[in-house]
Symmetry: C2
Subunit: 223 residues, 2 copies
């Protein structure tokens, strides 16, 4: 099993720390799909009692990252090719909505923020730290979702994007693809700045399609 370690924060309840720890491990693939989440084992590894472990598992379960069968315990949720297709369809619909909100409606300040987020992402790519790349990519997209002003949309998109990140880590390591991601981000910012909805939509779809393509290959390779 993965090597788990808690980063204690004195004021956060242990259940939240445990939740974040397990969640990270799942999203990064350190806890593998199908792997059992046994309470005592996790409690031993993390040096806490079963109570916070159980509460964290309930949270993961609700989020779709774990599946529990009553009296059999929990395991890391599996993600299939079909799941991925479905998630991407939903994402396309919601990214389209996001573009309806932002095209022609972002303030110059928001666009500046977006450009900045894009630059920070490029720097992360230059650094080569995959954790950071992943994080900065998410942040870039979050700037857009926040600009929509629709909090619900933002939170659903965050969930979706994080669930996808279970697979993104794999391809974010390939430098060639990262160059392409940068180009697509730039194209998207340009489109948003132009204020033209159709342009925005095209840039978004291009970005999603190429990402989906690569992730599918990763999943295929993993089975």
């Amino acid at each position: 099993m993965a090597n788990l370690e808690l980063v204690i924060n004195d004021y956060l309840p242990l259940r939240d720390v445990v939740y974040q720890t397990l969640r990270n491990a799942i999203l990064k693939g350190e806890l593998k799909p199908g792997e059992r989440l046994m309470e005592m084992k996790l409690a031993g590894k993390l040096g806490v009692s079963r109570t916070p472990i159980r509460e964290a598992i309930r949270m993961l379960e609700q989020e779709g990252l774990a599946i529990t069968i009553p009296r059999h315990g929990a395991q890391v949720a599996k993600m299939t090719q079909k799941d991925m297709d479905d998630v991407y369809e939903v994402r396309r619909a919601l990214e389209t909505l996001a573009m309806k909100y932002v095209s022609g409606n972002m303030t110059t300040e928001q666009i500046a923020d977006l450009r900045y987020a894009e630059k920070v992402f490029e720097e992360a790519v230059a650094d080569g730290d995959s954790d950071k790349i992943e994080q900065k990519d998410t942040e870039f997209h979050m700037v857009i979702y926040e600009a929509t002003g629709n909090m619900r949309l933002g939170s659903i998109m965050t969930t979706i994007s994080e669930q996808l990140s279970r697979y993104r880590w794999a391809y974010l390591l390939h430098h060639k693809q990262l160059k392409q991601v940068i180009d697509e981000h730039r194209a998207l910012v340009d489109a948003i700045e132009s204020g033209d909805y159709e342009k925005c939509l095209k840039a978004t779809m291009d970005h999603l399609n190429s990402q989906e393509e690569i992730i599918k290959e990763v999943i295929k390779a993993n089975n």
Copy 2:
């Protein structure tokens, strides 16, 4: 506080029974927005220990129906007018996606199922049992989501629709509006049967818009 009672199911862990009980109470408005969810009180009312209560609260929290502040406990989440607008925007985007899937693609059997679900809904309206009306309305829409074949879409839509049901109960009591809901459902089935995407979209949007209108009034009246 609401009068809670557990419907024990021998094989379901108590946490799940408690979760469903609390969730229902919140969605029906028996537990009011902002109301505190105190562990001992709930445990006493439901005749269980704090452990399953806590796990149920963690699930509600993850679902957005409860908010917990560390060391202060949990309370029923509040829903504002703005929240409602946001949820409806998301729902519109996803219903549009659903229509893309189903228009022209539903089998005769699926359409028959849909007509049947519609009929059952009408019967529920005739009965006047608001719990049943609510349930049959949800089931009608679920037939469509299931026909898309996209499980993710289905589960997100279910969540959204259930969250909205926190307010639907109020207006489902008014007979005049129910007549309109029936008409809209029929129009939607006809549109789907015609296979014309644009017709489907219009029928869906009409349904959503009129629902949103009424719910907004209910919220306004509640504040």
